[in-house]
Amino acid sequence: MSRPQESTVLFDALGPRGRMRTRWASIISIIVLAAIAAFAVWKLAAESFFEQSRWINPLDALIVETTWIPDLLNTLTAFALGSVGALLLGVVVGFGRVSKNPVVRFLSMIYVQFFRAIPLLLLIWIPFTIDGAFGFTTDTLGFDVEGRRLTFLVVGLAVYNGAVLAEIMRSGINALPPGQAMAGYAVGLRHGQVMRIIVLPQAMRNMLPAVLAQLVILLKDTALGYVITYPELLHGAQNIGRDYAQSFLQALLIAAFIYFVLAYALSKVVVLVERRISRKTASSSKAVRHVEAVASE
């Protein structure tokens, strides 16, 4: 009596005929998928996609040392700094969104709406390009060329993802049953204390999965450093492709694979965290019902 899985609400445990039909459907779809894969492999082999030199050249020890490893580190640096910046901005603006002061609330709303509507690519590229055009340049801050690129990439990532994280913060705080805060006020806590002691610890747990999922997106977005020629993974792959024209596709696929491994590992952390914290917050329906019960007494 094994039900296939939760996502399949459209059929329940199948009878013998249904099982037979499913088995045939499975076999046929495996054959179809295998045929597509075999055809692709055959086509690729005809274009000498699997030729050893095409894979070995971009993975040469020297290239690994001078391109892949430094570029991977550059990607991770941009990710780490961008995440820290985005989290800080997200917390500040997120608090602004639920602030008691209407001016602060309005300004944070404008910030979120504006930066969520603009392509991240422009948020990275425009400041980088017009730097110096209006009298002020970041050169006076003493960055070298690389540092300057990293700065603009990190600032763009932080500003954009900060807006997204602020929105996650707000919905995390709003998703908490109001009875939690009410109970805090009822025992005589002030607004700040209610936020600090009762609302935030629970809201944090609520939104942690969404925050981590956004960090996976931020990791992928570091590839946009390409538009300001920040030497990240994709940029490195392209340089390798220029030197070894025959291995261009292979170099890009290797870079894509590295991104995949990084992002997949990070998203597995998300799932783990989700599982660990799932039972620790006040469930909204129960708490709301409780408030209603109290109110009707």
Binding site: P4, E6, S7, T8, V9, L10, F11, D12, L14, G18, T22, A25, S26, S29, I30, L33, K43, L44, E47, F49, F114, A117, I118, P119, L120, L121, L122, W125, I126, T129, I130, A133, F134, V216, K220, D221, T222, A223, L224, Y226, V227, L234, A237, Q238, G241, A245, Q246, F248, L249, L252, L253, A255, A256, Y259, F260, A263, Y264, S267
Partner: protein, 218 residues
Amino acid sequence: MFDNFDLMVAALWDGLFTTIWVTLASFAIALVIGAILAVMHVSPAPPARWAANAYTQTFRNVPLLAVLFILFFGFPKIGISAENWVWALVGLGTYTGAFVGETLRSGINSIPLGQAEAARSIGLTFGQSLSSVILPQAFRSVIAPIGTLLTALVKNSALVLAIGVPELSAQAQRLINDNRDRFDLWAVIIGVLISYLIVNLIISYFVRLAEKRAVFVR
């Protein structure tokens, strides 16, 4: 101020037009791919689910820019060539399709089990209950997330400037890079930012409208 203002407006207008049709065309592709993926996700045959899962995981964990580069720079190396706008549509469509598939699947999963049970108990087949009971309800509950995907697609379409499609951001880049002294820098920047803001505001307005009209009581 505002030297050659009409030239700038014409260039940005061209770019906006390209952005809009690239977005709409790749969104159509994404909806088709997403619908196929969603059906595969809930299908009784395990290999179909595995294939859909592999597709989704691939595109969720690889940057869009890497996908576009593999298509535009990589595929000609294995003998598959096309115009750059074709690769833009294919790249944006396949990438967004994975997210549409996930959204549709969660929409299907949000339909209470009782609906599917009721459909089957009156004798509807898998296909019938899907097409006349589950999907009509699922579509309504995914309007808002699909709208979010559309605004994300408008922003993502800026990336195709890297493969030489002259959309809005590419036009702004060209205006700023080539004509530093002829065009007022601020005018270009404000023009391009406002264009994106307006497009996204219009989309979210219509999404909200559609959401309101699709409200139903179960």
